[in-house]
């Protein structure tokens, strides 16, 4: 049956257009991939290869010099490079964990209960997807200074808990959970909190991974913005910026940092891709 549908669909296609579309995909795929391939190769190029004219895309004699140099360079700076790595990991992990927990807790009643104010609340959440955090950056700076959070991890981590996109996606995903399941748990005498924790949360695992990817997009690349001043609290992205500012002499080291930065989110995405796509299927905006 499935094959029949497939075949019927194929009837409509001309192979000329097929080839054109695959070419299109190939050309733009290359456009997306080449810069990343280039930087990965640069990270393994010895010094003389980095500065040949004309520049080459692929490395010939790969070395790990750039990575060892990186740790050498960073040992002489104020804080060791491992500290930047720790900060980035810590901010991402803490922000993501808190966000997944709080956003799921809020998404459950929004998706499944018709309490007073649920429509207003959800409308406000959707509206808040319609402007970027730049709009609130200045008042947030004032709020942080009133709270005394300037120059601390929590200035970056705590606001991330209440990022609207995660709640939105989680709520849309939770709507698919059959009500009968929740009713059955209720009849068995489970409290709302237990239903949330033991029935709903395990069912929305794909959405956790999606929120993880989104938070990673936001927090992994953060440089601490205007909230963090102390060198020992700065992130890897900030360190990378400093190294790249160092100019040509640091080109190889800069590429090495970029590779370290890229690896974690890309590996995470590869491992969670099918779950993320499953969650995104319910991302649509119904009226």
């Amino acid at each position: 049956m499935k094959l029949a549908i497939r075949l019927k669909k194929r009837v409509n296609r001309s192979w000329q257009v097929d080839i054109m579309l695959i070419l299109l995909l190939g050309v733009f795929g290359a456009f997306m991939a080449v810069p990343l391939i280039y930087v990965i190769n640069n990270a393994f190029k010895p010094l003389d290869e980095l500065f040949i004219f004309p520049p080459t895309l692929f490395v010939r004699n790969a070395t790990f010099d750039n990575f060892t140099d990186l740790f050498k360079v960073m040992k002489n700076s104020w804080v060791p490079f491992s500290r930047y790595i720790f900060n980035t990991f810590f901010i991402t992990a803490a922000g993501t964990a808190g966000h997944i927990l709080l956003a799921s807790a809020a998404a459950y009643p929004l998706a499944k209960h018709k309490f007073r104010g649920h429509k207003v609340l959800f409308t406000v959440i959707v509206l808040s997807l319609m402007f970027s955090p730049h709009v609130t950056a200045i008042p947030n700076y004032m709020i942080m200074s009133v709270l005394g959070w300037i120059d601390s991890y929590q200035a970056v981590v705590i606001p991330a808990f209440a990022y609207p996109l995660g709640l939105y996606l989680m709520k849309q995903f939770m709507e698919q959970i059959p009500d009968a399941l929740l009713e059955a748990a209720k009849i068995d005498g489970a409290s709302e909190y237990r239903i949330f924790w033991q029935v709903v949360m395990p069912l929305v695992k794909p959405a956790w991974l999606t929120l993880l990817i989104l938070m990673m997009q936001m927090l992994w690349g953060t440089d601490g913005g205007s909230f963090i001043y102390s060198e020992q609290l700065k992130t890897m992205h900030y360190a990378m910026g400093q190294i790249v500012q160092g100019g040509i002499a640091r080109a190889g080291v800069g590429a090495a940092v970029a590779v370290i930065m890229m690896t974690v989110p890309i590996v995470t995405f590869v491992l969670s891709q099918s779950n993320v796509i499953q969650t995104m299927a319910s991302s649509g905006m119904k009226d």
């Binding site: 795929g29 004219f53 709080l102 309490f115 997807l129 709020i143 705590i158 040509i248 991302s283």
Partner: protein, 321 residues
């Protein structure tokens, strides 16, 4: 019959209104009690959301009508910030113009690209599909490694672009790509597009996979001749919810160009060639500390983003109707 009704009305009359109010109040309390668990679950998120998203928008609008530098208390100056912004601040107008250029190009192009590539990828078999999804999504998740483009468009002959063009003999001297306002905007647009296949791209891929297969079969029976008709009459209408979600994400990010511009063209850029509303905001808010004026810029940005999103949502609702 008539009598009892009148009697009932008379009995109700003395405390009719207060009874109604009281009834409403009781209902309210009852509802609150019934849903108390919902409110408890919502509370932590909602409190933080109010504190870091809703409240900031409100105070930003308030401060936009004041003069405020964080040292002296704010004082009310009415529309002065706005009139200065729109009539006396040439740099803001340059920023606004660049923002519009970025938005008008990167917004629609990235939106269409997200859809077209998702659509093409969806035709492939599942292993290739997973790989191509990664290829297209990788730049946007790679943690701001867009500085690579700084090396590609580096102004000396070691930059890939200069090296390549000199090698094939199109130019004889390296071009200062990122210092020349003539090229700056184009390069930032290219990099912005490179980064733009993010959340909406994934939403579209997912949406395409959920389109009901039997619709295509039915369509073929109903006389759909080729893939373009299939796309227009079946795929697009079935994906409307995802298309609307994607539009919000792409519009918002296309109006918020700043990080890429600041990283590549410098801040401030030569002749303000890559200045945008957001970099103007950064300038006044985090360097000059003119918070009142910066709040006015933020409010303009807020209206710009919300306005264009709401208009586009209205338009998209009509697709396929």
């Amino acid at each position: 019959m008539q009598k009892t009704k009148i009697a009932a009305e008379i009995m109700m009359q003395p405390k009719g209104r207060s009874a109604g109010l009281q009834g409403k109040w009781e209902l309210f309390v009852k509802d609150m009690k019934r849903d108390r668990h919902s409110y408890v679950l919502l509370a932590p998120y909602v409190l933080l959301f109010l504190l870091f998203t809703v409240f900031p928008v409100v105070i930003s609008i308030f401060f936009s009508f004041t003069h405020f530098n964080m040292l002296e208390p704010p004082h009310w100056i009415g529309w002065e910030n706005y009139s200065k912004l729109l009539w006396n601040d040439d740099v803001f107008l340059i920023g606004l113009k660049n923002t519009m250029i970025f938005a008008v190009i990167t917004g629609p192009v990235s939106y269409i690209a997200c859809f077209v590539f998702a659509w093409l990828i969806n035709e492939l078999n599942s292993k290739v599909r997973a790989f191509m999804t990664l290829v297209f999504f990788a730049p946007s998740i790679s943690g701001n490694v867009f500085f690579i483009w700084q090396i590609i468009f580096s102004g000396d002959s070691y930059g890939i672009m200069n090296g390549f063009l000199m090698k094939i003999g199109i130019i004889y001297e390296p071009i200062l790509w990122l210092q020349n306002p003539q090229y700056m905007l184009t390069i930032i647009i290219i990099v912005q597009l490179w980064l733009s296949l993010g959340t909406s791209f994934l939403a579209f891929i997912a949406g395409l996979q959920t389109v009901d297969r039997t619709l295509y079969e039915a369509g073929a029976v109903d006389g759909i001749k080729n893939r373009w008709q299939e796309l227009w009459f079946i795929t697009l209408p079935s994906m409307r919810p995802q298309l609307m979600f994607g539009a919000v994400i792409q519009i918002t990010s296309s109006l918020a160009v700043a990080d890429v511009a600041m990283a590549l063209a410098g801040f401030p850029s030569v002749q303000y060639g890559a200045h945008t509303v957001v970099t103007h905001l950064v300038d006044y808010g985090t360097i000059r500390f003119e918070m009142g004026y910066a709040s006015a810029i933020a409010t303009v940005l807020f209206i710009l983003m919300l306005g264009s999103n709401l208009v586009v949502q209205k338009l998209l609702k009509r697709v396929g109707e």
